[in-house]
Symmetry: C2
Amino acid sequence: MARARPATLKAIADQLGLHVSTVSRVLNGPPEGSERAASGATAERIRRLADELGYRRNPHAKSLRTARSDLVGVLVPQLADLVLALVYEGIEEAAAERGLSTFVMNTRDDEPTQRARTELAIGRRVDGLIFADGREDTELLAEVAAREVPFVLVNRPAGDFPVVACDNRAGGRMVAEHLLERGHQRVAVVAGPAYARTARERTAGFVERYREAGFPVPEELVVHSRFDTGGGREATARIMQAAGAEPPTALFAVNDFAAIGAAGCAREHGLLIGRDIAVAGFNDTPLAAELPVPLTSVRVPVHEMGRRALGLLADLIGGRSVGSVHLPPELVVRASTTGGA
Amino acid sequence: MARARPATLKAIADQLGLHVSTVSRVLNGPPEGSERAASGATAERIRRLADELGYRRNPHAKSLRTARSDLVGVLVPQLADLVLALVYEGIEEAAAERGLSTFVMNTRDDEPTQRARTELAIGRRVDGLIFADGREDTELLAEVAAREVPFVLVNRPAGDFPVVACDNRAGGRMVAEHLLERGHQRVAVVAGPAYARTARERTAGFVERYREAGFPVPEELVVHSRFDTGGGREATARIMQAAGAEPPTALFAVNDFAAIGAAGCAREHGLLIGRDIAVAGFNDTPLAAELPVPLTSVRVPVHEMGRRALGLLADLIGGRSVGSVHLPPELVVRASTTGGA
DNA sequence: CTGAAAGCGCTTACAG
DNA sequence: CTGAAAGCGCTTACAG
């Protein structure tokens, strides 16, 4: 019934007539500086037996002793959001390569939960934290910084904290550029939540480019919303109402889910996506290409962002100083903005 | 620069002129049986100071001492698969309620990775494991069982190991029933991968019901595939080719992603979803309802499945014996099978 | 090159 | 009700 106890350094040492410290040096690396941990022959015997017994260092003992957990906590608004799942996959992958362990927690994008989860992670003695849910309207990050817990942000910038994100403003401009080329002059924005800098920057870039082109986007056609399909749907309904007799000929939604909702709403207004009205999203979710009218979107290197964020955090933990990283987005044009069937 | 060292039991004990063991009893619970850990007054002083110092028990020391990590490892094929993300959210939620920590790892549904990840988790001294990627063609689970590591399966059954899943066969039958009622006699199945029992059981239930109704599904119209949209698309292409002059009037795909791919392929054959050809999926992914032609699907209580799986595992870890749980699925009828626009 | 010792922070019988 | 001790498995200066 009782599970077999895992082999310990002591067990190996005893069997070999050596001291546990020698075994430790061989198996888990000699202290800084020293070249070798033991004579070739001894090392060989130790390694062979360790292998045979399936020795795995006890991470709790190691962490307790070294005050390093090799653990990284990751906070995301919602793991079921594809974008975050992909970011996390990148983080996990890069962590594994460095021998770090990670865990994720959902914060539902609300502050009390963010706070509770952060405490939980710190309680687990993480070496560092990655926040994918940075908000502009909260002191949480400043407080964590004051406690000197190393952290970086990913995807969503906030404050001046180090972040790995895509150049959202540029992405917004790309969509504007594309729609301008297609001749759209009256456009609207499904702008996402105001507390998320991703949403704000994408909107800003888009609006800026349209202003430069001489077709400023009317304020009432820039409508904030949640990031999900329901949010996109509601925002679009309000846009249609505000626009009245002159509905926009193109819709920019700051993420793909909102874009799908926006398209649904437009369809209910009797508009054919890609023909009567152009719709563009952001993130280039795997589904964007698979929709009946494939969705024009801005591809964001989410997996790479996750990898880089972990790298940045590892640097920070290692005492190196770090700066933010901004990855270039890429416009992917599909039928939703180029005339459908 | 150096991060503030967290408060320890010793620090509290010293400040209060008490022994660390007394503080431990008060803060982290008295040993089994004992009613109280200390006199009311002492306990009060301890709790107050602990609060003030923001004491958090060091989990590594605790785990090292008790040989219990309160850690659960979860293995999923891919976290970016919405279904798995939702299952994991359920697991995490239930774990948090019990003071357990969880972490997820992707196994990409391939055996070497499953094996490597399992070793990694065991190396981290998990108290138990949850596999969401059980395969029928592998000895891995039997080996883990032989090592007496507690585990349960979720979503996908395999072997006779305890599992929390939905009644996939019943789900398949429900779809068949519905399509029969709509008058479909020539139907095909996008059957998913053969190594996944979910796929096999859904297919089996569907095929069984059609056989009972007197319209056996021709073998060449049951085509295995991957679970993703590409898989659905390819399987459907093969179905169309096999069917020749008599294409099926309805398509059952064993999950929603495959169904979306199937619909895409059908559309390219000039068929209008919901009118020329019915399409049904499985899982009722949040997107199913949002598609231009909303997708008929079988709702699976994925979040609840995750919660129950964690509960089962906790029982197992606690030494209680457990049995499998099968949750009822529910058919959600939408336009993709009831005639579209 | 190898050993001996101390100690990370906790829990838990055992005394008193 | 509280204290003293042992020990979980490891790492790391310090000797020799």
